[in-house]
């Protein structure tokens, strides 16, 4: 999940779940289930459908469905409009499901940020956990 200095950057998070792809697909595409693990939404698994993801922090993400391949691939835009270019965010989130012997491998790739993108509001609420872990490392080095 490291960025590069090129035009766009990519964050990738992968995990294997001991559940079949069909079940994961439901969790990724049914609004009441999406709300339970991601955000409140008016998602529909229809290419071209525009929807919002509403975060607990009050932010609203503008999204549009780009790809729907049941049990395999789902992608949508993940944009946060802001007057200040440093906060403006345009990205694409792609979920790729692969059946494994023990369940399903899920890969989430988020890409398309500008190189000067300093922060992402979607992560502001929870990114602190990693920040604090990093901070402890930095402080340990300082001593």
């Amino acid at each position: 999940m490291n960025g590069t200095s090129s035009e766009t950057r990519t964050v990738t998070v992968e995990r294997e779940f001991p559940h079949p792809p069909e079940k994961l697909w439901r969790a990724l595409t049914q609004p009441h289930l999406i709300e339970e693990w991601l955000m409140k939404n008016d998602f529909k698994p229809v290419v071209g459908h525009s929807f919002n993801l509403r975060g607990e922090w009050g932010g609203v993400l503008d999204c549009e469905v780009l790809t729907v391949e049941p049990n395999r691939t789902l992608s949508y835009t993940w944009n946060f409009a802001h007057d200040d270019p440093a906060f403006d965010l345009k990205s694409i989130v792609t979920f790729t499901l692969t059946q494994t012997s023990g369940g399903t491998h899920l890969r989430m790739e988020q890409s398309g940020f500008r190189p000067n993108q300093k922060q992402a509001y979607g992560g502001a609420k929870v990114g602190w956990q990693k920040f604090l872990a990093d901070l402890e490392q930095v402080l340990a080095r300082e001593e």
Partner: protein, 107 residues
């Protein structure tokens, strides 16, 4: 004039103060009374920590009657965090909730 990073690092270097900030991030808005009950230090000490956090822009306060409510402003951490680690942490945490949801769902 210290750099914003210096202020943030100094502010969060104290374990008690960091714990208060963490709790506000996790639990949302809390009163000084509730924070004190959970922190293991005196109320004046908690208030002092909250003052330091507020000056660093990490928390904001809201007065309601005689109570003061504090909430976290995680965006204030921005100077220290690039979006990759931020979004990575965000998705890891969402995947935790997804895993939890899958356990509760019917086949």
């Amino acid at each position: 004039m210290p750099e914003p990073q210096d202020t943030l690092f100094r502010t969060l270097a104290d374990p008690t103060r960091r714990a208060i900030f963490e709790r506000l991030c996790r639990k949302g808005e809390q009163t000084v009374v509730v924070l004190t009950a959970q922190s293991g230090v005196s109320q004046p000490a908690v208030s002092k920590h909250l003052g330091v956090l507020k000056r660093a822009g990490l928390v904001q306060d809201r007065h309601e009657g005689r109570q003061t409510h504090y909430s976290a402003r995680p965006a204030a951490l921005a100077p220290l965090i690039d979006w990759t680690s931020q979004m990575g942490g965000f998705w890891e945490s969402r995947f935790d909730d997804l895993e939890n949801l899958l356990e509760r769902m019917d086949q």
